[in-house]
Each structure stands twice: as structure tokens, then as C-alpha cells.
């Protein structure tokens, strides 16, 4: 594999950090995705995030039409432990499966240990800086815009935003979302970001 596990994954992490520190930022992972020359049935952007963040110390689950097989891919590559949706550090929602449901089941942490709130990695069609979502909060100077696009089977269920608001209603409890699109672009919505639809 031409991907350098030290230097290329460091770059992936820095892009992810920039995206999460400044929500609305869209990071490009296409260069690193191209180096990941493994033929696997998972979005390479998602795989890069798994390689950068998961290992034997973490737990995860997959929600998709082929959860068992995709879960095998991730656990063989990272040695991460599989767990139920309510106990996983990372939840992969792939192929446009029910995001709202995964969010409701995910761990939101406790008041004493809010950092245990899970990270959801969600596949979407196309991320862009235009779109129906208006973002505000820490990391954003005034406001930012984000669109998820529409495309081949990766449309988010319309209830996902309400499910997120409900899940994150009692800050610091909540979940943090990472979005990866078909062209390996990445965006993040940490629990601190206020999101509303442009009416």
C-alpha cells in the first residue's frame, strides 16, 4: 500500500482537526484516498478516518446494508473491537442508512464523562459550502453554510437533524458527526455547532 501510515495519516488527522475546529470547513482527502490502493467495498475517505482514529483500544459498529462484512474490513484493518451501537466509540453509518436511528442509539456520554459521547462517521452524497444548512457556534466566526447534496443512495433521512438536536440537547452530552462524501471530501459537526435549515 502506497499510503504512508505515519505521514499520510498525520495529514488526514490535521485535515480532520481543521474541519472540526472550524465547522463548515470542507477538507479534501482525495490525495490520500488515491494512495490507499486497497480494493475494498468501503468509501476510501471513511477508511482513511478509520485508519487514522481506530485501533485495539477503541470500539465501533457499522450500520449499513452489509454491516457484518464492512465491520470485518474495519476490524481487520484496525484491530478495533466491535460493540453494540450504544457502546461504540465510533459508529459508521454507510450507504445512506437510517442516520436518525443510529444517532438515537449512540452513546452521548455522561455529565461526568461527556467525552464518551460517540463519533458518527456518515456517508453522504456531496458536501459543499452552499446548501440548506446554516451553522453557528464555537469555531465559526459568524455563520457558515453546509450542503450534503443528493446522490446515489446516500441521501440522509430528513429526520436526522431533529434527531441530532434531540441527542445534543443537553450540552455537554451529545455526539460528534463526521461526514464523508463520494469524492472523499470531509466535514464535521461537533456537538457544539448549532445547525438549522435555511427556511
Amino acid at each position: 500500500m502506497r499510503l504512508d501510515p505515519v505521514h499520510d495519516l498525520q495529514k488526514v488527522f490535521r485535515k480532520l482537526l481543521a474541519a472540526q475546529a472550524s465547522p463548515g470547513t470542507i477538507a479534501e482527502l482525495s490525495r490520500e484516498a488515491e494512495l490507499l490502493d486497497l480494493e475494498l467495498p468501503i468509501n476510501k475517505g471513511v477508511l482513511l478516518l478509520a485508519l487514522a482514529l481506530l485501533d485495539a483500544e477503541t470500539s465501533f459498529c457499522v450500520s449499513s446494508s452489509d454491516s457484518a462484512a464492512l465491520g470485518d474490513v474495519i476490524s481487520h484493518l484496525t484491530y478495533a473491537r466491535r460493540a453494540g451501537p450504544g457502546e461504540s466509540d465510533f459508529v459508521f453509518v454507510l450507504g445512506g442508512k437510517d442516520v436518525a436511528r443510529s444517532m438515537r442509539l449512540a452513546r452521548e456520554g455522561t455529565l461526568v464523562d461527556p467525552h464518551l459521547g460517540s463519533t458518527l462517521v456518515i456517508e453522504v452524497a456531496r458536501l459543499s459550502g452552499e446548501g440548506e444548512l446554516i451553522l453557528a457556534g464555537p469555531g465559526i466566526e459568524t455563520k457558515a453554510r453546509l450542503g450534503m447534496g443528493a446522490g446515489r443512495g446516500a441521501d440522509l433521512d430528513p429526520g436526522w437533524l431533529e434527531a441530532r438536536s434531540a441527542k445534543n440537547a443537553e450540552f455537554p452530552l451529545g455526539v460528534d458527526l463526521l461526514f464523508v462524501d463520494e469524492d472523499f471530501r470531509l466535514a464535521a459537526l461537533p456537538r457544539t455547532t448549532l445547525v438549522r435549515r435555511d427556511a
Binding site: A56, E57, S75, Y79, R81, D113
Partner: protein, 372 residues
């Protein structure tokens, strides 16, 4: 006025490092790391324990580099340990399955298998032996050869794996041990996951085992003098010897519970000191009556470090009791202050410049003195 920049930090550091090397070499004799490994067993064992890294050659080299400072040697070992990829956890080692070199009990006059004194300072008289100044490698080799030829009577300690009942098993068979359900919970690795309070026992035992020998000894002493144990503990069994380390087959499916021993690989043996201390505790028996049962405190160190292992066993029992009656029963107080690298690091950080914080405080002091 000419500006004298405060520069030269790099040069100053380089000069300091050279000066340190000078101090290590100026008496004209270099120390052979192999000699340290061979003749300074106690220090090597202490450093391995506190570093939680079992490698006698590396410990000896660290001791050489540190000019004999346990604080510095442990620091070197721990920093090296930080760089090692951690791929496997061994199977739990039962310290009773040991190639015994020393085994004693204070609780019973005699125990199955007998009291084996083994190699210990306990029975020496602490009189400095100037004869050691004339020791030579050749003389040592001759003595060792002659020693090994001496006939040994009875059971050969150190040549067979001990399978006999231990003192603790005997006490258990009498029904005098406080009932305690077997805890099969997976131990947590404190070097990979920060502890949170309240801790679980595996975390406490690890921190104590890695603790600075002096710190653990001092707190164990305090516990013994009345700050912790309310009744007198007795060493049920102290044993020193070698145990085998097995690693489960890494190619078996990850996380398969209850790995059969037959599927494990032997990776080597280590020498350990294990101590089981019997601590009498009061137990209510109903109807206003109180009885006494025994709890076990457990202590462990790499190599032979008996004082620390015994002190650790006392602190284990103190912390198990949970009540924060005194400092040595307070897990935050004990566990957060026994680590050598943390304690020596923070204390020595007082040598760093603090003039900004001082300037800030000076400002407050001045303002507080100004009449309003």
C-alpha cells in the same frame, strides 16, 4: 545602551551536557554495563519494577547512563517504553506456578514444602566487608564453580515448579478467609488508559507495582504504624522465583474469551517477588457480635524487591477497604503520589523559570497594598 540579547540557550545546554559527561568520566574509570547487570542485581530489579519494563541489560545500561541514580534510570527506561508498540497482552500469570528460589511464611512455623530461605540479606550482618575490594573476576568464577559442586540435600529449591499448597490455601481451607467472589474482569492497563476515581483493583495494583520504592515503602510504613491497618498484618507467604510468560495465539480471532492455554506461546520467564499478606478484619456476625476474618493484601515486584512488595500488599489492603479514614486509605492520595517519574518531574520543575507568573503575582501584591 547596547542591547545584550539573552541568547545562547542552545550553547549553554550543550556545554551542560558535556559537563555532565565530564562528571561521569573524570575519575578515570568507566563502568561496564555488564558488571552492573551482574553485580548490582538489587538496583537493576528496582529500576525494572519502577519502569514496569523487564529487561535486565537495558536497566543496567540505564543505570550506567544515569550514574546510578534510580530516578534518572527509571526515567530513561519509561521513556523508552513509551516508544514500544504494544501488540499483545500475556495470559494472567499465577504467581504460585513458580520455580521457587525463596519462599517463607511468617504466619506459620512451617508450611508445605518447607521454609526456603534462599538468597536474602535478612540473615547477613550489616558489616561492611572490605574484603570485597580485592575481588577479581577469576576469584569469583572459582568460588562459583566450587559452590555449584557442593552436594544439595533434600528437595532442590529452584529446580522444580512448585505445585504444593501455599499458606494462603491452608488458611482458606480452614474457612478463615473473608469470602470474596472471583473477579474475572479484564484488567485495565493504566499506561494505555488514564485512571478515573474510583479505581478498580487491577489499576491500583499496577500503580503500586510501578511505584517508587521509597514512596511505597514510606506509605506502607505509615499504614503499619497505625495510619492504615487497625490490626496487625502477617506475611502469609513471600516467594521469589521465576514464572513463565505466555501470550495467546495472535492469529486466533481477536478477543476470543477464555483462550485455552494450549493455544498460547511461551515467550520467556521473569523473576518476580510475590507477597500475600493476611490482614485480620472485623466482620459483623449479627446479634451485636463481631468476628474476625482474614483479607489478603497482594504485593508484587519484578526481580527481588521484598520490602516494596510487602509495603504494597499493606497498601493494597488499605485501599481495598474503601473508607478514607486516613491518608493511606485514600486512593487519590496514595495512587497519585507514588509514581517516580511524576513525583520527581513535578518537584524538579520548580527549577524552571517562573518569572512571568512571579511578575503577575507581584502586580497583584502591589495593587493590594495600594490604599483604595
Amino acid at each position: 545602551m547596547g542591547y545584550v540579547a539573552v541568547r545562547g540557550g542552545t550553547e549553554a545546554i550543550e556545554a551542560s551536557i558535556e559537563r555532565l559527561k565530564y562528571e561521569r568520566l573524570r575519575k578515570g574509570r568507566t563502568v561496564d554495563a555488564k558488571a552492573i547487570e551482574s553485580g548490582m542485581r538489587a538496583l537493576v530489579d528496582q529500576v525494572m519494577s519502577e519502569a514496569s519494563l523487564y529487561d535486565e541489560a537495558l536497566a543496567a545500561l540505564s543505570i550506567k547512563q544515569a550514574e546510578g541514580s534510580p530516578e534518572e534510570a527509571v526515567f530513561l527506561m519509561r521513556a523508552f517504553r513509551s516508544t514500544l508498540p504494544r501488540s499483545h497482552y500475556s495470559l494472567a500469570v499465577d504467581s504460585r506456578h513458580m520455580r521457587v528460589e525463596r519462599r517463607i511464611s511468617a504466619s506459620f512455623k512451617d508450611i508445605p514444602g518447607g521454609q526456603v530461605l534462599g538468597a536474602a540479606c535478612d540473615y547477613t550482618h550489616r558489616l561492611i566487608d572490605s574484603g570485597l575490594l580485592g575481588e577479581t573476576d577469576e576469584g569469583a568464577a572459582r568460588w562459583v564453580a566450587e559452590y555449584l559442586e557442593r552436594p544439595v540435600e533434600g528437595a532442590e529449591a529452584g529446580s522444580s515448579i512448585r505445585e504444593q499448597e501455599g499458606a494462603i490455601d491452608y488458611v482458606r481451607s480452614l474457612g478463615l478467609l473473608k469470602a470474596r467472589p472471583l473477579d474475572e474482569a479484564e484488567p485495565r492497563d493504566v499506561t494505555k488508559r488514564a485512571i478515573e476515581f474510583p479505581t478498580i483493583r487491577s489499576e491500583r495494583l499496577q500503580i503500586l507495582a510501578r511505584g517508587q520504592t521509597g514512596a511505597v515503602t514510606a506509605l506502607g510504613y505509615a499504614a503499619l504504624r497505625g495510619y492504615g491497618a487497625t490490626l496487625h498484618p502477617t506475611v502469609g507467604e513471600l516467594r521469589v522465583g521465576r514464572v513463565a510468560v505466555l501470550v495467546p495465539n495472535p492469529l486466533a480471532s481477536a478477543g476470543a474469551p477464555g483462550q485455552a492455554e494450549g493455544e498460547a506461546y511461551y515467550v520467556g520467564q521473569i523473576k518476580i517477588t510475590a507477597v500475600e499478606t493476611l490482614v485480620p478484619v472485623s466482620v459483623p456476625r449479627g446479634m451485636g457480635k463481631t468476628g474476625i476474618e482474614f483479607e489478603i493484601g497482594f504485593g508484587l515486584s519484578f526481580g527481588q524487591n521484598e520490602t516494596k512488595a510487602i509495603a504494597m500488599s499493606l497498601l493494597d489492603q488499605c485501599l481495598e477497604s474503601g473508607d478514607k479514614g486516613s491518608a493511606v486509605r485514600d486512593e487519590e492520595f496514595v495512587l497519585l503520589h507514588v509514581d517516580s517519574v511524576e513525583a520527581t518531574g513535578f518537584i524538579s520543575h520548580l527549577k524552571l523559570p517562573h518569572y512571568v507568573t512571579f511578575q503577575s503575582k507581584l502586580d497583584s501584591v502591589r495593587k493590594a497594598r495600594r490604599p483604595e
